[in-house]
Symmetry: C2
Subunit: 342 residues, 2 copies
């Protein structure tokens, strides 16, 4: 390949200096219009393309932003990412996507890679298996790399977060089931060390108490956001002496597993058991029995997270209290929980 052309090549050809070329290319106002034109034309002719690496080395900015999610093959995270991309691309940033597969080890590794890539910031949804320690996040903070949480967050000083009101979402889901006449509502939770899951649980619990129903802790099972795990947990529920008449799952995937298990036993949905999932994954809409679910406005969540990052980058060192953005959840009611119409 022909060596890549640099500003020096352009400079030499034009008998000017590299600095001038650099300035012309970067729209520095003190450059004469004629020089600027000349440089731009020559640059085009010579197929010049800026070496961002050098620029990044010099400026300390890479214009790369890391996004860390548990997985990319869920519509929710895919859409959050899309929202982030939308906003960040427009500002000249590039987005590097990493998956943790809910493994602490990969989370650490990802942060390392991103740090190596000299990212200007990290937007992340923490992994499920996270320990209590925060050294990982501290490493970013110490390097003054802005860190923004979305969805699965942790309360850490100096870290902004964008979430939905998970308590409210849990409350509304349970209230809806109660309105349908359900009295023993089970809950497929997830690792409750993670706030969002705990909040969904708390909201669910509060609704039950507020309606004067009995709250039975044994109806709450922590399970991963996976189809098989949902089935497994549901087996336990259905085998109880007093099985539930509704299941509120904090994951659409687990809800799907629940539905499979329930149907396999010939139990009817929603007549015998109502189901509510979480995240409004497309399949909830497409299934033969559409599933009620909670929409988290992922696109919006992504856009806002990106905006929060941009704000932090701008303000630089100035210590401004970290922002906590809370979006409104929306319960999308479908057949799986409409006892009234079944």
């Amino acid at each position: 390949m022909s060596k890549k052309t640099t500003i020096y090549d352009i400079a030499k050809k034009l008998n000017i200096t590299a600095a001038t070329v650099s300035r012309a290319l970067n729209g520095n106002p003190k450059i004469s219009e004629s020089t600027r034109q000349l440089v731009n034309e020559t640059a085009k002719e010579m197929n010049y393309e800026q070496n961002k690496l050098a620029q990044a080395l010099k400026s300390g900015k890479s214009y790369n932003v890391g996004v860390i999610v548990p997985r990319i093959d869920s519509n929710f995270f895919a859409l959050v990412i899309r929202g982030i991309e939308e906003v960040l691309y427009a500002k000249g940033y590039h987005v590097i996507i990493c998956q943790t597969h809910d493994q602490k080890k990969l989370e650490i590794q990802n942060i390392n890679s991103l740090l190596n890539a000299q990212v200007d910031g990290v937007l992340m949804s923490i992994s499920n298996s996270g320990s209590e320690e925060n050294e990982n996040f501290d490493r970013l903070l110490k390097k003054n790399v802005p860190l923004i949480f979305f969805d699965r967050k942790k309360d850490i000083d100096g870290i902004s977060a964008v979430t939905i009101d998970d308590f409210k979402a849990g409350y509304e889901a349970a209230q809806h089931l109660i309105n349908q006449g359900c009295k023993r509502i089970a809950h497929l939770s997830n690792n409750r060390k993670i706030q969002i899951f705990n909040n969904r649980y708390l909201g669910y619990k509060q609704a039950i108490l507020d309606n004067g129903l009995e709250f039975d802790e044994s109806l709450v099972i922590e399970t991963a956001s996976k189809v098989e795990e949902g089935s497994k947990a549901t087996k336990i529920l259905l085998d109880m002496e007093m099985p539930p008449d509704a299941i509120f799952s904090s994951s659409d995937f687990a809800a799907l597993g629940a539905i499979q298990e329930i149907k396999s036993r010939g139990i009817r949905i929603p007549q015998d058991i109502c189901i509510v999932g979480f995240a409004n994954e497309p399949f909830t809409r497409f299934m033969e029995l559409p599933v009620t679910s909670v929409d988290q406005s992922p696109l919006e969540m992504g856009r806002i997270s990106a905006q929060v990052f941009l704000d932090e980058v701008d303000k630089g060192k100035k210590k401004i209290p970290n922002k906590q953005v809370v979006l409104n959840p929306e319960l999308i009611i479908r057949k799986s929980s409409l006892k009234s119409e079944a």
Copy 2:
């Protein structure tokens, strides 16, 4: 923030030179064991982390690899990416994921960004809306950046590709439907300028001809890989005077749309119409009526693509004929096409 520590800081502290530190850190054999240890310890103490940017600038290698796919929220692409990551992470590379959303404009933009990030290579599945021109790919080749296609490829000199045998997949899908007794098999194709879609079509056609059935071109509709598009196309098919008794879709998403449309008309699957999809997306397994589909071993495809890239990087300038890897498709038979058992 405390300024990041560099090899110079370490050097100063140890009264040696940065070059020595660099060598020690990089495992250069000519460094005494004692110095190496000292350097390593001090580096750890001082929280030293290598600045990959500088290293990249120097070496011309960024250890970043770009992966461009139409979308990330499909299980197929998500798994291909996972396969790629697996292999590449182990070699110290980092993976930057970009989406084209099947838009030519974004495809160009993505290539630009990746070029800016000085990626050492690009693995991609071309976008649907690609024109006939290849300038984009040429830009990569001119810069000697290895380009590997997977799944959606184009025949371009010097570009390796990893795909499945789409002709065979199409053939087997159609043959299976014929074995079930279907006689008028429709095909939801996709942009046939893209080889894989054309090959699936050709295989399907050949199976029909080989079995002495009538081939009716009007049963073939080009449609995007989307649920709604699948429904729309199916409307046309069902409204025909002689509607099909089977649909082979080159996309699971379109197949899902087809199923919805068919059911909404009270037509039975598989008794009246058999359905075969493509890509073995998880929902095909989870649906109440599990859908027959073609598995493309995405993990394997990703791993191999990554390996092909590594080989090309190694061989450097040497012109070696581009590799064309073809994997075997596997038809996963489920209820949606099992007339015999319905």
